[in-house]
């Protein structure tokens, strides 16, 4: 035995390499089968009536469809859907409390929805109008709300992971009964920030949940070109982090896993890694046409056979907490509200020009004031070239 810094290490006298992969892949925790029936002897965390869960999943789906269409019609400049990942969004949200701080990638509007962001607020951000909390500065779907503890989406991949570790560190110092939660995709797990953040979180013993939505694709890159490990879950052990692989399209399993992880994060002050297996039914974004690199059949199969909403709906209906009628009522109501919100947001004024220069610093410094002056002068001499819907 070698007494090495960090602990004792036993010797072996055979040349033996650790295999690059284990015989069996890490199994996937699931509770519901493909038909939405609870699997016998499955364990899950009870939550009582989940009417809100379903309605939020439905709302998310409708929002995605309407906005996607709106972009295709030229009403919106850009959009990215969450289709296929509704269970990850809503079930995770339901397992957290409002004090838990969320650091999203960009496919998690469901958590905002759950926390109370209104359809109008979503629309305002997408249209970048004067009611947008981001003051019209970011592209659509880059939501942020400090009052709902949902940190503004930064487009760079995986940079939110170390940010989340920082937030967890802050919560730990303040001894709060809350954790940081951050989301990222299978592609994001290749970024350096993923590795740095996981390692840092483990060493800091920071209460942070790393939730990876492994949806099979990173734009056109399939997971076989993204990593050669058994997905993302096995990487947790490399950093000394407890991890679990979950069926991301199973709302009950997702809820239970996040709930359990959260408990451990807060009581034991440790990070946890959850790999949620799912599928990106939609395109990467409106700038992508995924039929160019994957079969329509594959997309259809996941959308039909393993649809998170259908499976959960079946289970919930069997418990008497939902019905077809409730669903169709909801759908028509949401659709109407959504279209109205879109209409209002579209017609709404854009933010004032001064917002181009404010918030770069706490107070605009002289050079920015000068820049603003120059811009305004230019506008005065070329009024016809200045957009009419941006107030000065």
């Amino acid at each position: 035995v070698l007494d090495f810094p960090g602990g004792k290490v036993a010797f072996t006298h055979e040349i033996q390499f650790i295999s690059e992969s284990s015989q069996e892949r890490v199994p996937c925790y699931s509770v519901l089968d493909d038909n939405g029936q609870q699997i016998t002897n499955s364990h899950f965390v009870q939550r009582g009536s989940s009417g809100e869960d379903v309605s939020d999943m439905v709302t998310l789906q409708i929002m995605d469809n309407i906005y996607y269409e709106a972009q295709r019609q030229g009403r919106l400049s850009f959009y990215a859907t969450t289709i296929g990942e509704e269970a990850i969004n809503i079930a995770s949200a339901a397992a957290l409390i409002s004090g838990d701080v969320i650091f999203p990638q960009y496919r998690e509007p469901g958590l905002l929805l759950w926390r109370g962001f209104t359809l109008q607020e979503f629309a305002n951000q997408c249209f970048g109008n004067k009611s947008d909390y981001g003051k019209g500065r970011q592209m659509p779907v880059h939501y942020g709300s400090n009052k709902l503890n949902y940190f503004t989406v930064s487009a760079t991949i995986a940079t939110q992971l170390p940010n989340a570790v920082g937030a967890a560190y802050s919560l730990k110092i303040d001894r709060k009964n809350a954790c940081a939660v951050t989301f990222f995709g299978n592609g994001g797990s290749s970024e350096g920030d993923f590795h740095g953040a996981l390692n840092l979180a483990a060493v800091m013993e920071a209460p942070v949940l790393f939730i990876c939505w492994n949806n099979g694709w990173a734009i056109s890159t399939p997971t076989s070109y993204q990593f050669r490990s058994d997905g993302v879950v096995v990487k947790g052990r490399a950093y000394g982090i407890r991890s679990i692989r979950v069926d991301g399209n199973d709302a009950l399993a997702m809820y239970s896993a996040v709930h359990a992880a959260r408990e451990m994060a807060i009581t034991e002050h440790r990070p946890l890694l959850i790999e949620a297996l799912t599928y990106r039914v939609g395109h990467h974004s409106t700038s992508d046409d995924s039929t160019r690199y994957r079969s329509a059949y594959e997309i259809e199969w996941w959308n039909k056979a393993r649809n998170p909403l259908s499976r959960f709906r079946t289970w919930i209906e069997s418990n008497g907490w939902w019905s077809d009628e409730a669903e169709s009522d909801l759908r028509s109501r949401i659709k109407k509200e959504m279209l109205e919100a879109l209409r209002v947001a579209e017609k709404s004024e854009k933010p004032n020009l001064k917002n181009m220069f404010s918030d770069v610093y706490d107070v605009p410094p002289p050079n920015l004031k000068e820049h603003e002056f120059v811009v305004r002068q230019t506008i005065k001499s070329h009024t016809q070239d200045y957009p009419s819907n941006v107030p000065l």
């Binding site: 909390y133 760079t156 940079t159 940010n163 560190y169 740095g196 390692n199 800091m204 770069v360």
Partner: protein, 404 residues
């Protein structure tokens, strides 16, 4: 004696100070300084109004004959005051802020019980604990990102790069998140971090450890940059940077950590956007910062002996430039020499040259001259390394050329 108080728009009790008046005010005896040293300066980003720190006041009429300002009398003459080295001044500033505000924390490599590679965080882990003075694994991007996330949730982290060059790894977080998130979130999240560390050419540290990052970061919108050069301004800038709501990058220099100076016992901070008048003069404005300030002052000795009267300004604020102080100087002397350690291409000097030409073209009697390091990686050989950095002899020659 107190500095002139300009009421124009100044909401706080700050004194604005026109360097041209320095001679008038410089004459009174130094025993009036106590009034000045008690004044606290609130760091604000409105450079045209917020002046103070009274540094100019400390230069008496005698100084113009005595070219080396820094040695003789940057000391406080209240009688009290204590002498310390620059790294101790940084540590003192940091400790005072950590005492004052429990949200201030430090993170970086070896900053804990090791006390930091340059001992700036010495003793802090013992006093404030392992959590507030955090040792991180080697992952600059990750722990800078961590600092940003912590800042967004209410802490005020001071992130240390063991060497500024290592922060190249943190560029993504600094540029995309640090600089931008206050803006893109619509003002919902603030990022009051301080990112600091030693940079510049040292003594045979090798190319990778002799980087000058200030020019790389200068374009990033949303951040502020300052460079300290004396124990007095090191402590003052450290404190001001921590109190600022904006992200501030504080550039220290590897070779200046052991500079000794007497600094006030009373609390003080320096204004982040303000340049420092090191030596008032008439013939030429020499703009410099960090270590080059000392090469300039050495050249100034020679220049004074040759009959020149250079005005030396330590620009201190690298982003934004203190164009008010610089402008007043240019309007007086009509000649500008910039002495920097950055590379010739795309350095702070290049940016400053452009700013001066744009703003003060009419006041120049000669083209702005800029002395910088060559566009080469810093060689390890001591003799070569010495010649990548601007030397006093070159400065003297440049001044003579400009003042023909």
């Amino acid at each position: 004696m107190s500095a002139i108080i300009r009421g124009a728009g100044a909401a706080t009790a700050l004194s604005t100070f026109n360097p041209v008046d320095s001679k008038k005010l410089a004459a009174p005896s130094r025993t009036n300084l106590p009034a000045r040293s008690k004044r606290y300066i609130v760091a604000g980003s409105d450079a045209s109004k917020s002046f103070g720190s009274g540094l100019r006041v400390r230069h008496s009429q005698k100084l113009i004959a005595n070219a080396v300002a820094t040695k003789a009398d940057t000391s406080v003459t209240t009688g009290t005051g204590h002498e310390l080295l620059l790294y101790e001044a940084l540590q003192e500033g940091l400790e005072e802020e950590m005492d004052r505000d429990p949200h201030v924390c430090v993170m970086g490599e070896d900053v804990g019980h090791y006390g930091g590679s340059y001992k700036v965080t010495k003793g802090l882990a013992d006093k404030f604990g392992d959590l507030r003075v955090l040792d991180t694994p080697i992952c600059e991007n990750a722990f800078t990102g961590m600092g940003i996330g912590a800042a967004m949730t209410g802490l005020r982290p001071v992130i240390e790069g063991m060497n500024m060059g290592f922060l190249l790894l943190a560029f993504n977080q600094i540029s995309n998140n640090c600089g931008m998130l206050h803006y893109t979130s619509g003002g919902q999240f603030t990022i009051p971090v301080v990112i600091r560390g030693p940079g510049g050419v040292g003594r045979q540290l090798g190319a990778e450890h002799s980087q000058r990052l200030e020019s790389y970061f200068q374009s990033i919108p949303g951040i502020q940059m300052v460079a300290c050069s004396t124990p007095y301004n090191a402590k003052g800038l450290m404190k001001a940077a921590i109190r600022s709501e904006n992200p501030v990058i504080l550039f220290e220099h590897v070779l200046l950590y052991n500079l000794k100076e007497k600094i006030p016992d009373e609390e003080y901070i320096c204004n982040l956007e303000e340049a420092e008048m090191v030596r008032p003069g008439e013939h030429i404005t020499i703009l410099t910062y960090s270590r080059m300030r000392y090469h300039v002052m050495q050249a100034a000795k020679t220049l004074v002996n040759k009959g020149y009267d250079p005005e030396v300004i330590d620009i201190r604020s690298l982003k934004p430039f203190d164009l008010y102080t610089i402008g007043n100087s240019v309007k007086k002397t009509h000649r500008v020499l910039i002495v920097e350690e950055c590379m010739r291409t795309g350095g702070i000097g290049a940016s400053l040259t452009a700013a001066i030409n744009e703003n003060f073209h009419d006041y120049l009697d000669a083209p702005v001259m800029c002395l910088s390091s060559q566009d080469v990686p810093t060689p390890y050989a001591g003799t070569l390394e010495e010649w990548t950095v601007v030397q006093p002899a070159q400065i003297v020659t440049a001044v003579e050329q400009l003042c023909q």
